[in-house]
Structures are given as C-alpha cells and as structure tokens.
Symmetry: D2
Subunit: 147 residues, 4 copies
C-alpha cells in the first residue's frame, strides 16, 4: 500500500519570471508532475481512457504556501503524500524542497484535492468510486509523516 | 478608496489541456492578470522599479476552489476584492465567472496573499510597509461583498 | 474577402522570464491568439466541432524572427496576414509591433502554416479541403502588404 | 570538442492542449531544455552572471517543422546538434523523436539561432564574442549528422 512518492525536477528557464524566480503558478504544474509519476509508479496513468467508461480526475481544490523562492537550474524534490483517501476523492500534500550540497531545504507546501469522475454517454461527468484496482494499492499517509 | 476591480479575459487554446478544459494552474495566471490590471487602474505597476529602493510583491499563499470547468473561448470575468489589507501584506479574493447570454455563472474562487518587500544593497529581501501612495488608495472590501 | 486582422495584447508577468523579457516561446502563443480572433471575426471558431466530421487545424510549420524584446505591460499589436491560401493549408505572416506614445515599432515577425484535417471513425486524421464556408471568406493578402 | 547532446523528457499533462496533443509552442520550451542541459554538460550555465560583464543569449530566430504529434506521457528524445558556430552566434538543430518499444520515430525538427551579448553599464546589450572558455569546447557538427 503506497502513500508517498518522491519526484525530482530541475527549474527551467521558461519556469522563471522577470523577478528571477520560478513563477508561483508553476508550483501547481510541478504538483501534477509528481502526481502523474506516482500513478505511473503504481502501473497506472492518470488518463484512464482504457477503462469503460473512462475515469477522469478533475481538481476541486489547489493551494500552495511559499516560504522561499526557487531559481533557474535549482534541483527540486517534490514529495507527494496522500493526506486523505476517500471513496471518491484524494487529497495530496506536496512538500517542495531545494536540493543543495549541504542538504535539502523546504521551500513550499502545496495541497491538491482531486475527484474521480466518469462521463456518461452524453458527456456529463459524475463523481464515481476510485477504481478498485487503484484504490487497493494506495492508503492515507500516517499522520506523523504530514508534519 | 478602491477595494474591487473586474477584469475580463477569454480562454485561449494554449490555456486548455487534453481534458478539453482550462488547465487548473492557469487560474493562478488569470488571478495575476486581474491584480496587475487593478494596479494599473490606480496609476501603478506591480513592478515598482521606479522607487528607490524597488518594491516587489512575492506571493506567500495561493489557493483556488474549482466548481465548474472553463472551455476554449469562454469569456471570463475575474472579480478581484481586497479581502484583507495589512501594513505589509494584501489578501485578494478572486471570483471567476463565465459570461453567458443567459447571465454569468460562478466557476471558481481563488485567494492570493502577497507581501511587499524591498531589496537591500546585497539583494536580500525584507518585508516593508506597502508604499504610502498605494496604501492610501486602497481599502479592504466590505465583508458582505466577499460572500 | 478577408486577408488581414489585427489583435492587441498586453505582455503579462507570467509571459516574462528571468531575462526580464517575454519568453521567446510565448510569441507562438500570441500568434495563435491572433489566428483564433481572426476566425471569430469571420463568424467561426478554430474548433470546428459542430461540423460532421469535425475539422482540425494542426500546425506543420512555425517560425519567428526576433528583432527587439518585449517587456512586462508592453502593449503589442499582432497583425495577421494570409501569406498563402492553398486548398488544404494556410500560411500566415504575423507582424508584432510594440505600441508606444511615439508610434509603433516592429519587434518580431512570425509565420505559421496550418493544415485542415478531418478525423475518420478510427480517429485517423487526413488532410481535407478547407471548409467552403470559411474558404469563400478569405483570400491571400496582396504581396505588397507582406513586406 | 562537443557538437551534439541528447536530452530526454516526458510530455506532461500541462504540455497538452484540448486537441489531445502537445501544444506546438512547447516544442520551443523543450529545445531550450536541451540547450541548457548541453551547457551544463560542458560545465557552464546559460546564465553566465558569474562573468564580468554578464553574458546573455537572446534568441534571434526559432523555427519548427512538425511531422507527428506528441501525446501525454510520451518519452521524447531531443537531440541537439550545433549546425553553425560563428564568432558571436550559434545555430542549433533539434531532432525530436518519440521513444517507443519498437524503436524511436522522428516527430519534429527545430532550429534556434542565439547570439551572445553583454550588457554595458547603462543596460544596453551588444553582441560579443562567444566566451572563449565555451567556444573552445564546442564545434559545428559534421554536415552528414545534420540530415
């Protein structure tokens, strides 16, 4: 049962803005990068079009608290933790840390709540149970790992 | 004394993702668009490099709750309200609504907290009072306008 | 018969990079903005899903020559000209100019070739004639307007 | 003497658009990713702020020819080749290939011309010789490798 995953990423030039740091909206792109790599690590893709009906994962809440900036070419660790697992929704916690020779330093924390949905024939989306083959592989992280 | 501002924007093709809707990270770009237009409406730029020392506005918190998706070519109203005005920080509320012939419909709400900082000679940033010429033009929105 | 269109746009903070100027990839997003507004000006959307079968417009070539940088809050005119109209493809020329009190100044020129395609039942895309209702409204720009 | 470099990258959800494929502007972001990794492989950063005066690399030309689309989670090889090395400018060729179990398949080719510049005290940029420590490590690729 998986409850955490760690992705690595380097800040790119196009991630920065004229303030010389990573634009704040890009932390949300990085969260998704970690989420999708987490799915792949379990043998799935976030795009579950192979199922009938297809399952999607719209985002219903996203947030981020920024402590320190990230700069071009910084190496970033994005640690994903499952904060909450419900029958039709997942809430992730993301801890962003900058990797440095002297050790890593936390720069931001984000949170994302996603809901599993399926489309009916008319294209209308309805919340649905998290697909069983995925649900049985994941669990909420122990509370002490979230602090 | 200004406490609200309304920006309009159309969802572009490059704002969408393979789910056929605006990517969730782009709501954060749209928030900034409204913030910067609000500054311009008061005669300022968010980039206050003309001051000595220059004042910057790093983001310390960002969040968004998504209710309905936005699609390509949707016309979006982004209403900015000053939720809180402190001596060195501002918190904005953003109400995203889709404009339709039959009236507008709320699709998302976001929040952004920004801090005013100045850089010393060594480049170190320190929180500072919101520049007086700006502070005297803005005020917190009345609580009833935030609901 | 239309052969040109002018779109206006302001450079946003998230369009800039740490060099303090608009990131070069964003000129390609701006080209598309102008293209799609051009389609709307003719009563169409670039997303022709209302047709049966749906027609799409994949890009087969894109280029840009950069003469001067664009900065945050610059107002930009994007002039689209139809450089070539073929039965199944269009080539646009884009002239980017920065609007200034003293007049406008050209900053870049781009080019985009798009092909009209339709998808068969299996999802395979095949080049097709530009839909007649669109083709009859547009024509190639006179050569002298392209210089 | 280096004249080529290969970077790998996976197409992310935020790289896609509503057509279900990577947005065409993102190929230009990927080109830069390869360029900057190439610089790092030689012991440099594209951001040469450690030098006095600092050297920058504005882009003066960019182009891309698209043959096949890229999809979410595709693994992409970006092969960079130095097409031309001049005293103050470099032209790169980029060959994008999709990695598949059955072998790789070329999907696009891009080109980028960058100029080395330095800023004088007033901030004005002037083209300058490619810094010697970099110039002596790179050379143009043999013509046969460019086809």
């Amino acid at each position: 049962m998986a409850f955490e995953f760690t992705a690595l990423r380097r800040v790119e030039f196009s991630d920065t803005d004229m303030a010389g740091i990573m634009h704040y909206s890009n932390f949300f792109r990085f969260m998704e990068t970690a989420e999708h790599a987490f799915f792949r690590s379990l043998g799935f893709s976030i795009v579950m079009n192979h199922r009938e009906p297809a399952v999607g994962w719209p985002r219903v809440h996203a947030s981020c608290d920024y402590k320190r900036p990230l700069h071009f070419e910084d190496e970033v660790e994005i640690k994903l933790l499952i904060k909450e697992k419900r029958s039709k929704a997942l809430t992730y916690l993301f801890i962003f840390s900058k990797l440095q020779p002297a050790g890593k330093i936390e720069v931001a924390r984000g949170q994302l709540t996603v809901v599993s949905v399926m489309k009916d024939a008319s294209g209308k989306m309805t919340a649905c149970q998290i697909p069983a083959e995925l649900a049985e592989k994941i669990e909420a992280a122990p509370p002490e790992s979230l602090t």
